[in-house]
Symmetry: C2
Subunit: 300 residues, 2 copies
């Protein structure tokens, strides 16, 4: 017995490949003893893989990394990915996620998604759960916290005792892209988005104006010459991100742990602050590595 436990612990520290395989891009990490020793990023998201093309992609990765075990997370485990890994219903602990791992072939495991599936409400996530559970496992967020992951579909997760107790998704990023590409106000939405005065004005406005009328106001302001050219994109971003944050910040002074960097981090930090919240930035890549390494260890 002593010997078997030692073997198990040793195996847990053996190198493996972690793949964060999303809709539009892919990150690959070689992890040894919980540390990243090599990383790659490309734009081979699941939408770039032709029908029936996953086995070849997976064989290529295995060859490239000398047959090391591979742990995948993200949309690769969806019904449009390589193999549907299903969902763990809330409350999802790192142990319950690890226990529900799917292994379509020897040496290749996929992390399941997490869902809320009650009579009145449905939610799904796939890929974000590794970051969320990892952030807490790594001590970057407390075991009871509200975590925010901005993006095309922003996630707001309520962590309790280190587990995903509940979450909400908002189509904030997708809505911005839709409006910019296809709406009547899209033609005004040129210019860079930054956490500037126009963005802040949008965050303020959505406090007392519903989204559908605030968005039309962009057209009216343009016709009446009331907004400087190039400011509408930042204003609309402020309306959308502001609506997203205001719906989630239910009491003044709430702390939000924000898993974001770059522009999204600046925009959400500004909006959360205006909406009365307090921001703590969390490194999402460190969180992912901590989460996937812990899940790998729990599998061994």
């Amino acid at each position: 017995m002593q010997r078997a436990v030692a073997d198990s612990r040793e195996e847990a520290h053996l190198p493996f490949i972690a793949v964060d395989w999303g809709t539009t891009n892919r990150r690959v990490y070689r992890i040894e003893r919980g540390n990243v020793v090599a990383t790659e990023r490309d734009d081979i998201g699941i939408l770039s893989v032709p029908m029936g093309g996953f086995p070849a992609q997976i064989a290529e990765l295995r060859t490239r990394f000398g047959g090391l075990p591979i742990v995948r997370a993200g949309m690769v485990g969806s019904d449009r990915g390589w193999h549907d890994a299903g969902y763990v219903c809330r409350t999802a602990t790192i142990e319950s996620v690890a226990a529900a791992m799917v292994q379509p072939e020897h040496g290749v495991a996929i992390v399941p998604g997490v869902c809320v599936n009650t009579r009145g409400r449905t939610e799904v996530m796939r890929g974000e759960e590794v970051q969320l559970l990892g952030a807490v496992a790594a001590g970057l967020a407390p075991v009871d916290a509200l975590l925010c992951q901005p993006g095309t579909h922003s996630k707001w997760a309520v962590m309790k005792d280190g587990a995903i107790a509940d979450f909400t998704t908002a189509m904030t990023g997708e809505m911005f892209a839709l409006l910019k590409s296809h709406a009547l106000i899209g033609r005004e939405m040129y210019g860079d988005v930054e956490a500037d005065a126009a963005f802040r004005e949008g965050v303020e406005t959505c406090a007392d104006t519903d989204l559908l009328s605030a968005l039309f106001g962009v057209r009216a302001a343009s016709l009446l010459g009331k907004r400087a050219p190039g400011e509408a994109a930042a204003y609309v971003s402020g309306l959308l991100i502001g609506s997203d944050c205001r719906a989630r910040i239910t009491r003044p002074g709430m702390t939000i742990h924000l898993l974001a960097d770059g522009l999204l981090s600046r925009l959400y930090s500004a909006a959360i602050t205006i909406a009365g919240g307090r921001v703590v930035i969390v490194d999402s890549q460190v969180s992912f590595i901590a989460g996937i390494a812990r899940i790998r260890n729990l599998m061994s």
Copy 2:
């Protein structure tokens, strides 16, 4: 003087042509003594008229109707129409709108739009003002009322003493079309929209869920098999129209005069009722004729 007044009154009852010329279609009415004696409808909206094509369209109408005076309303008076007729700022009475008529050539007049242009808020309408002022002039709505005109860009007008005192526009119909054609949830949005159980569920849901997260819920419900196929379009319509109505119905029992018929009338009636309002249906065509005839009389 007596003679001039008599002439003016007589001229006010002379036949004229009213054109409600919108973005995607056009209605033409021959009006005599305030009554419609002939009507035509076609799909020659302003977007169908090629650059520089308005003079030919107008000449054709004048020839067809024997050179009768023409009064136009709607997007034909916008910066993308024939001639920009500008805006009357609120509060807009039927007299102030008539006084601001633009006559680009003899015998052809265009009704200006109406705007709100304050420091904090901008709104524009063009075409809807004739129906609004006409509904009150015809006694179809009281002089103090909240009027709703559903559509691509729904209008909610606060009438005071028979004038347009304030209004709000929501991009309700445009948002539905955007989501259906271009959003990730668009693929679920097949099936007819009707004021049915799925629509009502959408109206109920938006009472306590923000729009950006409620919309993503459509995707989650689909992935988890929680909504019957063909119901998502009606549900999304309920979310959008429900949000629109709930933002405007600020106290229970408020009466809304609804200028709509057909499906939009059924949908908005259902949503207004669920949101706690009381609906009175107003005939929008009768309102338009009453408004344009009154404006024509005031011009004489």
